[in-house]
Symmetry: C2
Subunit: 293 residues, 2 copies
């Protein structure tokens, strides 16, 4: 009773007594190289607002194309090279579509990233197969993505997913229906229904299975692709993943006028400092002696 009275007095004074405070949360400990990037990507208002910024730009860009149908798609033509990058034509009758990557573009793999981090890992292929198979309820939509996808659909624009999650897996019980787990994740995050081979193209088999160019070709033959969104340059063209490109070569290639013209103007990037084709780069290939202090 005395504690209660003292507590009431403390509340009157605007002081929360210790016993009335929320219980302390159990610490989450991640000490991998991703720890700082996790704080930025999943924990900062900066990264969240940057994602919203990208999705706002994509939405405005795509909706404008409904009334101003472009002649060219934003998918590179089959014979495109760095020197002569041409684009697919849009024709007159194809429906409009926007292609999205899934991981760290439409959805945050927040449950899987946490599990890996708490177990001292940043990636593991077997764990990832289980994550794809069972993590549907443990993800979050990237900030701004659901609003963007809804706006596109409301304008009659098809929403297509091309992801390097696996279509089928022999590592987990999902087997040939493995893609359905990713469809369930997209559905749970608020993006609606996806079917492999129709509006979703997950990774198949073969040595070049992570190359998305063939899947973009399939989509581009059916649709006028007016925009694409991703967190890695392979979400736009495999030309950026050519073997032997140094970090600086790759930066220079993405800044060539023909490609530079597309950033924020048909090609839309989301932030992802956790993993990507750059994550094993040697620092001596990034830092020039000219800026050594």
């Amino acid at each position: 009773m005395r504690g209660l009275l003292l507590g009431a007095a403390a509340l009157t004074l605007g002081i929360t007594p210790a016993w009335a405070q929320a219980p302390a949360k159990k610490p989450v400990v991640i000490e991998t190289e991703q720890a700082l990037g996790i704080r930025y990507l999943y924990g900062s208002a900066e990264a969240a607002s940057l994602s919203r910024q990208t999705y706002r730009a994509l939405t405005a860009y795509a909706l404008d194309k409904v009334n101003h149908r472009p002649t060219d798609a934003v998918v590179l033509a089959p014979n495109a090279t760095v020197e002569a990058p041409g684009f697919d034509g849009c024709g007159r009758k194809k429906d409009l579509a926007v292609i999205f990557d899934a991981d760290e573009t439409l959805i945050w793999n927040i449950g899987g990233t946490r599990w890996l981090g708490e177990h001292g890992m940043t990636f593991d292929a077997k764990v990832w197969s289980w994550w794809e198979a069972t993590g549907a309820q443990k993800i979050l939509p990237v900030p701004g993505a659901v609003e963007a996808v809804n706006a596109l659909k409301n304008a009659g624009i098809a929403v297509i997913v091309i992801s390097n999650r696996d279509a089928a897996s022999t590592d987990v019980p999902t087997g040939a229906d493995h893609w359905k787990a990713t469809a369930a994740a997209l559905k749970a995050a608020g993006f609606g229904d996806f079917t492999q081979g129709e509006n979703m193209f997950l990774r198949g088999t073969g040595p070049d299975r992570s190359n998305k160019d063939d899947r973009r070709r399939i989509v581009s033959e059916q649709y006028c692709v007016i925009a694409m969104a991703g967190d890695q340059l392979g979400d736009f063209s495999q030309l950026f993943n050519a073997e032997g490109l140094s970090p600086k070569d790759r930066q220079a290639r993405a800044a060539l006028p023909a490609f530079d013209a597309l950033w924020g103007n048909g090609w839309f990037l989301l932030p992802n400092p956790l993993y990507g084709p750059w994550d094993k780069a040697k620092l001596e290939d990034i830092f020039d002696d000219a800026q050594k202090w």
Copy 2:
């Protein structure tokens, strides 16, 4: 001679002999928590293209305002609150201006970040004062920033810098002229001439010296501020840096309709996963049990 002949034969065959290859670069070793973010921000074509995307959007947005002068500025009014965020008026006669943060917005602190990393640090106030004083030639412009600033200037839009680099310093010999070192850095990176108190407002003294609201007020009284760019939310309003905001509170605040409407639409964010007001966040305040896998 034999080596040379063999070498010539090898060159004919398209094989570069070992003696003709570029000498191996000396390894750069950084093992701080910033190592992965450094690879992303300074080393990836993804982050570079994302910066270009932001600067393309800012440029298009600002140039459009030359012919469509807005009624409201994008600087919050002095009495603005989270519940009732109003904006400064633009009047009819004020010149147009865009406000930029400096570090990791206009310029990459690539030399200083490397030095700190190679010495096992992520930040040190004394080192940073020396870096500000002497690093002018060891920085790089953020990709897309020089082109954007030039486009704005060519359109008659004033370019203003508000940065929490120090205007004066007693730690380094630059003393009262310390701001000139930052002006020299901006000049070296290709942004032209800046003068403290005219078109550049570095941090002064006092307990609230990192709060940029007062400096935005000075600029907004003279100019119609049509856009702002930064890597941290404090570059837009101090409301986002209120004490006691949890990471989720801060994300929610930045997503309130009045603020959400501005991302990519007057307020423009650059990626920076290396440091910020989020970098000491507790992971248990970022990860929810609902997404625990």
